[in-house]
Symmetry: D2
Subunit: 505 residues, 4 copies
């Protein structure tokens, strides 16, 4: 598979294809033309000798230094050196691919004036499978200078990279792949490092997983509702119409579709009028996640298809102009909101498990024990999802504003987008574990109910149930739970359950 | 002024008119019809004897209790009693008006089945100026039962209220206003308390003030940029077009308009290429505030014009149906994001003041001292805005998810919308103080610059400067600052500066 | 009552006497001598013309300015002016008394060199009942310059004060009290403002209330344990000896004393082996509060009896020396820990109420309804204490490190002690409300149990129960709860329950 | 080296020896006797048939189940199974050794009644180098059941372990080491899992590193003070005596010793009276760390040398008694305070680096560039330490109270000690990186100062400087910084600098 990059239409799904599934990239002809035209303008400006930040001047506090033409290579190489001091851990190869694809796409808009050969090198490295070693810590946002410098280091033949899954020096990787390192010219150093592509890359992967998690949330809470034999009235379309909230209306619609034909719609003597809010409000809170995700994704997609370069080259006007387009505060704070909403989603899931383990509410054995309580079954697992929920709560604390004023009072704002995004990624992972455990609970409750009452599942939930049962069987006696928890997590991460429901709906 | 409520088109501006400026309200004829029709349906359902939550059953965990028809008044009165236990401090009268207007507007949609006379009583109390005493603490969201019960208490002639600005018993207020307390019937108790109107009312006032603060932010940072004699290139339209972010583009457009004709566009020898980020990024971060505010306001307006009743009466279908429409998690988390963005806005303002006090950046006297440093001038004031900024940072910590599972495992979700909104209101107030102090700094810097260099202001900023100078004169020697800080705060709160710039633009 | 201040032995209890109960103060003869000797040294140093910070130089960034002798009065008055810009709300009169008493006590150590007449003026104002109006916001710690300047303002006859409970100008208050305002000399301005007495004063009142709350905690959880008819084994002395933790051992000892002779020790058929942790761990978590309180109080008492002056006058060595003794980071972070522990204490109390409302655990009616469920009783009150618990959780978020670097890179550390302490004070108040509600629950449960089973209380708990019942009677039917909640809060705030148990033990 | 465990005198230093340096352990004879006596008592109680929690009853909510004698092995094995569901990542082998050593030590007190052969097995596994694979997530405190169950799993021959650094099945590891898995009897399962040894083990390693970091802090800030050529007056003993705070007095004493004989004591024309607070307050804030560390370590050492078993066997009284000794809230909140104080320590270090890069304060080249500004030198590294400081700030947010009520309302308190401790461990690591970067700055500033002025270092700082220079040379031109940052981190982690100063003092 080959994905054509134009600068204008990169999506989260395309980034995932490139990053995770290894799709190759190609630069569109129009984009190539823009690259060439911009570079031409750079040289005109060099000849005109107008002082331009980071171009023929130093960067940051050193903006008062002048760079003579003959030192462009030296200046740009040292710029890469002096910016490459990231701290462990390292980004995964998939993350590095996402970052490179996004950096390349934004360069294609022609606002940077990067040497076309350097821009094309991103594509060549991606297609050759050379993935620079990129430390994840060291950027405060306001352009992810530090981690991106490590990509530049590899481009000029220094530092380390993975090639065919093996770690080696950049020089060796280039040799094995039959490539020569690039030689930097004016503005190339800044063009490589002055971008939020690192944050955007990691965010794109998280958002892609969240797009799936939000859909899975509706499937899983439908299964849990069947496990409880709860009420469906909160899902009715008229209720949703009265409230006018798009997110929850969509989740309710999904849940109705999954539950179509289910015995959950049957009343039984003594059925309570209302269920615990974690069931009753499942579609509502997952709807809030839809609302927040739409907001965050909107700004992420803008980020991946616009320029954040400073200074910014204006082709039509033949100017290069200082700005603050590296500000990603809307995106950072959107992600912080997303994290807060996820803390609600996580807690709802945890409470559903706690309720499913409670015989008073389910009329099933305590802790969903198959033997009616002889085995411990899902007693202590509550501490496991409880501790992950606490971690999510902690990760949802904001940090975007907790920056220091740097560089002699000049860099007195930041947004910590990288850290904010890394918190989101860990939340996503924790939630995948939690949802795995909810599936274990819901399917156990359903199976106990089936065995006792012959309970029929909905059209969608039946397919989901079958898919999960192929991975994790009923607990009939205590067995070490850790391997199952891991398998359930991987099942969620694979999003296999979505394929199974799509096939039947 | 009289505002017609229809259930469908209440805005933040209308709420402000009713709440702060004392506008009267009127119920539209269509809305009145819906009220009557809904009530008719309620009695049909009572006769049919279908068990409906909070109607002919108890509420919360007591949903398994049945309420006989003859006990409707008693049940509903006691429901009000048992829910009225709010804790100090009390909401202001303006807040109470906002709350009542919103509760009434949502009732007009006809999903509640409230007794029409009770619904109309909201309008009568508002128009008579009877404002129940409403304690602010005691609600966890998921409907603001506690504070709203205090309104119900006054409606039935108990509790306390303000009438003509004087606090008295509800009974006395009714007598003085020539009204009889209402007598509650079926579902009336729940109709009064089961709503998020308390949160929505307080949020509406905060959002109205934020609409003004976001506009003032552009004026104030324009003045500060002139105080610095800084760079305008980050505001250029081409830079904004390249970035595709609506919020920052709008703020930049505003700032360009305010600064039109200013000497800030003149270069001077040795002018730096780039200013500190607090100046360079002012429009960008204020733009992030625009983005977040638009998101929050969208959901607030939905909240004010849709139903959050549970159970919800469906007129066309002649049904009453259990749901979770009292969930306000999207709104609560939107407000939490808004608070985080405001912590950035606050910090930017503080840094601008710190920079304006720094002679290295301004080439003006240290701490903007008129006598070149003999007086302390704006030295210690830094601790004042610094401490408010710290408070804003603290208030921006989220709390929506920090709830307890209540009512015997049934109410196991909340969103703490009231507390979230109260944090926002305090942030707004703190920011009004901070912006007042920034005006003190910016105008002092401008005046010193004018005296020395004859600096001409922009069209908009000149008007703003004049307006502020009518309130606070230049500091020529140390004088107690506290009274000026208070005056500057009130100037910001009045939004007078916006009127002054609108007159000239 | 008159309290003699020596500089060395001020306690939290003495501060409370002065602040809340209006005790007068007197300066010890030794302290008076130290004041005179220090002042003499100041004049010797003035004559020697050594440059000393804030003395014959400017302060903060202005430390490079020199102050000539003839301008001492002018300089010190302006220093007061330029530091007095606090922001509302105002401290209470009791708080202002606490602050002044502590400031005076620390001055008595003789490290400041303040004019003795100015030092004595603190005592005179306290004894005359002149209480300056002190705004609470505006200090970042590192000396509470801002609020303390408002005290200085009143001392020199400017600003406002309360006299005999009436607010008036400082000039009028002086006239009415027959005092002349002071005239400042060298170092007096800094001596007045450069201190953390504002934070220490507010902290002292909070700590005094906590000393009582920690004792009440043991009484109240003993009552709740009886309300539950729970297990006492976790309180046994051998269990405590095995764990070696002083705090929990002390609380357990107290609870055993209160419960001596109680029917709670009787087993009944079907009694569970273990109670919910909120009961089982009550003494343990209250013990953690004892541990944290001891740590915080240790550092508070040091703060009240040592010098935080900068520069610091060394009498024996005839030197004046720059330092950072205004650092109160140990105290600030101790208070932050205390707040976190209080969030545990609050949550334990809330859970005990939730459990007492649960018939499964108590075998009493749901929500402790006297009529077995007809009345709502303590259903919705859960939202009230739940919301206060959430507020406490939020207030327990730390903020000591969230400062800005001020004053041209010179003041690049703060600890925000005032805000930290204000959070603690609000937590204390919220907890007093929560404990009031727990008393309502516990005594209702006990009374229901007594009526049904003839349950006998312990020696201490019986006295406590009687004391509370004199204020709040049994709920036999729904009545508005708000007034009772307020009364219960005031009962807790008065600590009357401690007197009642002390009388019988 | 062999460390004898008695139950009473385990220290953090001994844990480090066992965990990191691989010391073997031995059980003292008295402890062995206690083990035997306790086990005897267990069998007496089994025969007496008294119902005891987790012994002949189920655990948690299942405490109402009875376990017959013949099912002890089955019950205890399944207890291990059902508790072993931890989530990645895995604890390091050193951490697992620390955990096992502490669990063993507490067992030796004889309150548990564990089978002596099982207790001794901890020692045998430690001495054989069999280290169970222990996932780090899954415990909410209140005993670390989840991770400890994974140790139990290995003990009974299931699960996985490292042996001689290689990962393998428990069965294989036993075979290779010539051991037979143990067979569990009554109470053994609970004895293995019901302990906070997991948290205590990880905390012990963190505290050991902090003991070194607090000492290094004084060395490093002494070097930075020389790099600045700053003022020493804040360190004088009289200043410390006046303040009465032990922590800061100790740090000041250390700094005076390190700086003895340094040219930092020499004045130069134009030297400012006071330095930025990050220098002036270095000893003070490091002193606050000493205060907090002493508090936390006190409770950690109690934790390592007392019992947290529930139920608790009382040998003398021949009883077994339910309790809550697994509460570790004092320790958890002490660690949370420690984390907050570390956020201050980190920020002080960051500000010192920012100041050292500022020529106005140092009179050295900007960013400490050797060539006077041609190279970028320490410009962008500010983003690296800034981002780590932000992470520390985030990790210092408390989470101990953010738990869910689990196990059917029974387990309604937790303290999240494991997560709290893991946050501390990451903070320690981040601070080691930050201190590494401060060393890079301080030594660069010193070397530039030496080259220009011939600056002589103090006795201690000279040794420290030499030690660091053996690892990282002067920057004379830009070179990739990442490798040096890593080396500096490892230098700090090794605490080599402390050895170097001890040799000369």
């Amino acid at each position: 598979m080959k994905i054509v990059l134009t600068g204008n239409d990169l999506t989260v799904a395309k980034v995932w294809e490139i990053a995770v599934n290894g799709a190759e990239v190609e630069i569109s002809p129009e984009a190539n033309e823009r690259l060439e035209a911009s570079r031409k303008l750079v040289y005109e400006l060099v000849d005109a000798d107008v002082p331009v930040y980071g171009f023929n001047t130093g960067v940051g506090w050193n903006k008062d230094h002048t760079i003579a033409k003959e030192f462009f290579e030296d200046f740009n190489r040292k710029l890469i050196y002096s910016h490459s001091f990231g701290v462990e851990p390292e980004a995964s190869e998939a993350e590095v691919r996402a970052i490179m694809a996004i950096r390349l796409n934004c360069l294609l808009l022609g606002y940077t004036g990067i040497q076309p050969a350097v821009a094309r090198r991103y594509a060549e490295l991606l297609n050759a499978g050379i993935h620079p070693v990129v430390p994840e810590k060291g950027s405060v946002g306001e352009a992810d200078l530090t981690p991106l410098a490590h990509i530049g280091l590899v481009m000029i033949g220094e530092g380390e990279a993975y090639y065919q899954g093996r770690r080696m020096s950049s020089a060796e990787a280039h040799k094995l792949a039959g490539l020569e390192p690039v030689v930097l010219g004016p503005k190339d150093g800044l063009a490589i490092v002055s971008s939020s592509a690192f944050s955007a890359g990691e965010a794109a992967l998280a958002v892609k997983e969240l797009e799936e998690l939000v859909e899975m949330g509706d499937v899983i809470s439908s299964l849990s509702l069947e496990g409880l034999h709860g009420n469906t009235s909160p899902l009715e379309p008229e209720v949703m119409a009265a409230r006018k909230l798009e997110g929850q209306a969509k989740s309710a619609e999904r849940m109705r579709a999954y539950l179509a034909g289910s015995d959950v719609y049957k009343r039984y003597p003594g059925k309570p009028v209302q269920d615990p809010l974690c069931f009753r409000g499942a579609a509502y809170i997952n709807g809030s996640l839809r609302d927040a995700l739409a907001y965050a994704e909107k700004y992420l997609v803008i980020q991946m298809n616009s320029t954040d370069d400073n200074p910014c080259l204006l082709l039509d006007e033949k100017r290069i102009i200082s700005n603050s387009n590296f500000e990603t505060t809307t995106l950072a704070t959107a992600v912080e909101m997303l994290s807060i909403v996820l803390s609600h989603v996580s807690r709802m899931s945890c409470y559903r498990m706690l309720r499913l383990a409670n015989p008073e509410l389910t009329k099933l054995p305590r802790f969903l024990s198959h033997d009616g309580g002889e085995s411990h079954c899902f007693g202590t697992i509550q501490k496991c999802f409880g501790s992950l929920d606490t971690e999510i709560r902690h990760l949802s604390n904001p940090c975007s504003v907790d920056y220091l004023s740097l560089s002699g009072s000049i860099e007195d704002h930041s947004n910590n987008t990288p850290l904010v995004v890394q918190h989101l990624r860990q939340i996503v992972k924790d939630l995948q574990y939690i949802y795995g455990m909810e599936l274990i609970h819901a399917c156990q409750a359903i199976e106990l109910r089936k065995q006792r009452d012959g309970f029929a599942l909905g059209k969608g939930t039946a397919a989901a149930y079958e898919a999960f049962r192929r991975v994790i069987p009923l607990y009939t006696n205590d067995r070490p739970l850790a391997p199952d928890v891991k398998k359930a997590y991987e099942f969620v991460k694979s999003a296999a359950i979505l394929k199974s429901v799509k096939e039947v709906l």
